[in-house]
């Protein structure tokens, strides 16, 4: 029993660990997609954030400045995507593909020049994003062990749940959110009401880059201690999948990311203990996602104007 509770705690811990970066990126994806811009460049934006976050933290010694700069680096690539898709009416898939090449390409090249290696120098513990509840629980008791296991997480994890709440509030309870959703559904209507659709979408794509950048930064500043070319391998796409899964709602994306994180957490524990093949276990999150889609979720209602460039007449 004790063992089970322990394991369960570890699964929850791992769930949160895996969920965090996905969730930042998924929230970012929500902003872009709901405002009407397809953003498959999330992956590239995450990579930019992953590199920048850890490098800035390394040089400043301050994880929070690093974390913020990770976001800003993502936002920079978000801005590139916005210029292409919002202002110049580019095909959003092509532009996103370009971002996915440019992001990693540029940062790995910089890494090579700065460190003469494609990996950055590992952060010391003080430069990493802090763990908030370290040592708060008494690990001598079973319950304390459990709580310590679950809450051993980095501050970025708690922040992301706060971010879900904020994004939900912004989307559904504020003027900005109402307009943002309207832009993704019927941009012409917004324009006739004096809402500047282009500015709105531009901003949203930048925000999506910022959040994706934060997501990348938690990979290299919390989960791991350094940036490597394989730090971000597909998390951006998984985040997009989570958003489609969650029907383009932040609360839905949360569920999608948690499901994914939980399966990944399960994988860690099962992989360690059972005799089942590790490769097959690794498949679980992906297979479960598909099954859940078939059984419970079904069709995702895409925002009506998603993917369609808005051309303002002159």
């Amino acid at each position: 029993m004790t063992n089970f509770i322990n394991n369960f705690g570890i699964i929850l811990y791992a769930t949160l660990i895996y969920t965090t970066p996905l969730l930042y990126a998924a929230l970012g994806s929500c902003f872009s997609e709901v405002s009407g811009v397809v953003n498959i460049g999330i992956e590239g934006m995450m990579t930019a954030g992953a590199f920048t976050g850890t490098v800035v933290a390394y040089f400043t010694g301050n994880p929070w400045i690093g974390f913020l700069c990770g976001g800003l680096a993502g936002a920079f690539f978000g801005m590139l995507h916005a210029i292409a898709t919002v202002n110049l009416g580019a095909d959003q898939t092509i532009a996103g593909t370009a971002i996915n090449m440019l992001g990693p390409g540029i940062v790995i090249m910089i890494a090579k020049v700065m460190f003469n290696s494609t990996d950055t120098i590992p952060l010391e513990a003080s430069m990493k994003i802090p763990r908030l509840f370290r040592g708060v629980f008494d690990t001598a008791t079973v319950f304390g062990r459990f709580m310590d296991n679950v809450f051993a997480n980095y501050a970025s994890t708690y922040l992301v749940f706060l971010a879900v709440l904020i994004v939900w509030f912004v989307f559904y309870k504020t003027r900005f959110g109402l307009r943002l959703r309207a832009c993704g559904e019927h941009p012409q209507a917004c324009e006739t009401l004096g809402i500047n659709v282009l500015r709105m979408r531009f901003l949203c794509v930048c925000i999506s880059g910022f959040l994706a950048g934060l997501g990348g930064a938690c990979v290299t500043m919390a989960i791991s201690t350094q940036f490597r070319p394989i730090s971000i391998v597909g998390q951006g796409f998984i985040a997009i999948a989570a958003v489609i899964f969650g029907k383009f709602r932040p609360q839905g994306a949360l569920l999608g990311c948690l499901l994914f994180g939980f399966c990944s957490g399960l994988k860690v524990v099962l992989g360690g203990s059972s005799g089942v093949n590790m490769q097959l276990i690794s498949m679980i999150p992906y297979v479960v996602t598909v099954i859940v889609l078939i059984l419970f979720v079904g069709k995702s209602r895409v925002p009506s104007a998603n993917g369609k460039p808005f051309v303002k007449s002159k």
Partner: protein, 375 residues
């Protein structure tokens, strides 16, 4: 309006020129990065060019290009038929693994039998991978981009799993499969390679790529099947109204696209790799296929040329470190090229440079004629 076309008009209207300009700008951005790093642009680009223009170098380029071309065709075919095959990666992986399994287990078969069998196995595996996604879409309405991303990873771990099965796994210490039988290899004979001074991995897979290019072009442009698939891709409502079975077409399109990507996997394995390693991260062939399809404007012949170009960059790029430049520069260049292809509308607006008139993003139609645009 019978004025002689000016140079700028010509430039702004020609899609091919836009691609060339994008490529030029890509190299320009690359040069800027080189300059910032304090490296000689001339030396780096000189090395890039010299490494791909020798006979041996070019044979390397061709070898590199084979999978890019065929996966590029897969993605281009999907674009033409209205799906975005972001799942080419997974189809490539299962195709490659299917060919490996056949090439290992049926290694005693004679070459003329074994090679087609490997190709078929790869194409079937890729097609199945594509059709599963299509089925999820047509049966339950599940977004294909989402399920393709999932199936890319499922393919990834499936391949690693199969690589670990004793009958397949390498007898040595390598974390990889056994080598495929030499009867399944598409390599040119050692003699020929030595005599001509080609790359040691020179193989005749490029002929398959040529045949596939022609075949894809033929299907898209000349057959009723291509007509149906394109109609569904452009406007599935009108296609259905016209009596075309939309779901069947989507499945067919994904099967063909998947088969091509799977074949790409086989060609890569049988020409270059000869075994499959246990992956630690995705190989990126599917992704490369997307880029090649984009640079080639989804036109089969364009894709062929773009595949060679991409192969040249990848091979030439791997030599950049000889002059102290990071190989990642290539990704920056290619990313920039794709970025400018995305915003090629700026080239279309070049013709407004000389006129005083302001350049509209797109000449807006009179509002009265826009009816039907909005639902």
């Amino acid at each position: 309006m019978t004025k002689k076309k000016s140079f700028l008009d010509f430039v702004s209207e020609n899609r091919f020129i836009h691609i060339l300009l994008s490529i030029l700008l890509g190299f320009l951005v690359g040069a800027i990065f080189l300059a910032i790093m304090g490296l000689s642009v001339g030396e780096a680009y000189g090395r890039l060019i010299s490494s791909v223009t020798s006979l041996k170098g070019f044979s390397y380029v061709v070898v590199y290009a084979i999978p890019y071309i065929v996966v590029g065709l897969s993605v281009a075919f999907s674009f033409k038929t209205g799906v975005f095959n972001i799942g080419a990666e997974g189809q490539f992986v299962v195709g490659s693994m299917a060919a490996a399994v056949v090439g290992i287990l049926a290694g005693n078969l004679p070459k003329p039998l074994l090679i087609p069998l490997c190709f078929l196995a790869a194409m079937a595996a890729g097609a199945i991978w594509g059709v599963i996604v299509g089925f999820l879409k047509t049966r339950w309405g599940i977004n294909e981009v989402l399920s393709m991303i999932m199936f890319n990873w499922i393919a990834f771990y499936l391949s690693n799993f199969i690589a670990g099965i004793p009958a397949i796994h390498s007898d040595g210490t390598a974390e990889a499969t056994k080598n495929i039988s030499s009867n399944a290899s598409t390599l040119l004979s050692k003699d020929l390679i030595n005599r001509l001074g080609l790359a040691p991995t020179a193989n005749w897979g490029i002929l398959v790529a040529v045949v596939m290019t022609l075949l894809v072009w033929f299907i898209i442009e000349k057959t009723t099947l291509g007509y149906e698939l394109k109609a569904v891709g452009y406007n599935k409502f009108a296609a259905e109204y016209g009596g075309i079975h939309v779901n069947r077409s989507i499945l067919t399109a994904l099967a063909i696209s998947g088969a091509l990507a799977g074949l790409g996997g086989a060609l890569q394995l049988m020409g270059m790799g000869s075994r499959i390693s246990v992956f630690s991260s995705q190989e990126g062939f599917g992704f490369a296929g997307i880029v090649v399809a984009l640079i080639g404007c989804s036109n089969p012949f364009g894709v062929f040329i773009a595949g060679i170009f991409y192969g040249a960059l990848m091979y030439g790029g791997s030599k950049l470190n000889l002059v102290g430049a990071p190989t990642q520069l290539i990704n920056v260049i290619v990313g920039t090229v794709v970025f400018f292809i995305a915003i090629s509308v700026i080239f279309e607006n070049l013709k407004y440079l000389k006129k005083k008139a302001k350049a509209p993003v797109k000449p807006a139609a009179p509002a009265a004629e826009k009816e039907g645009e909005q639902k």
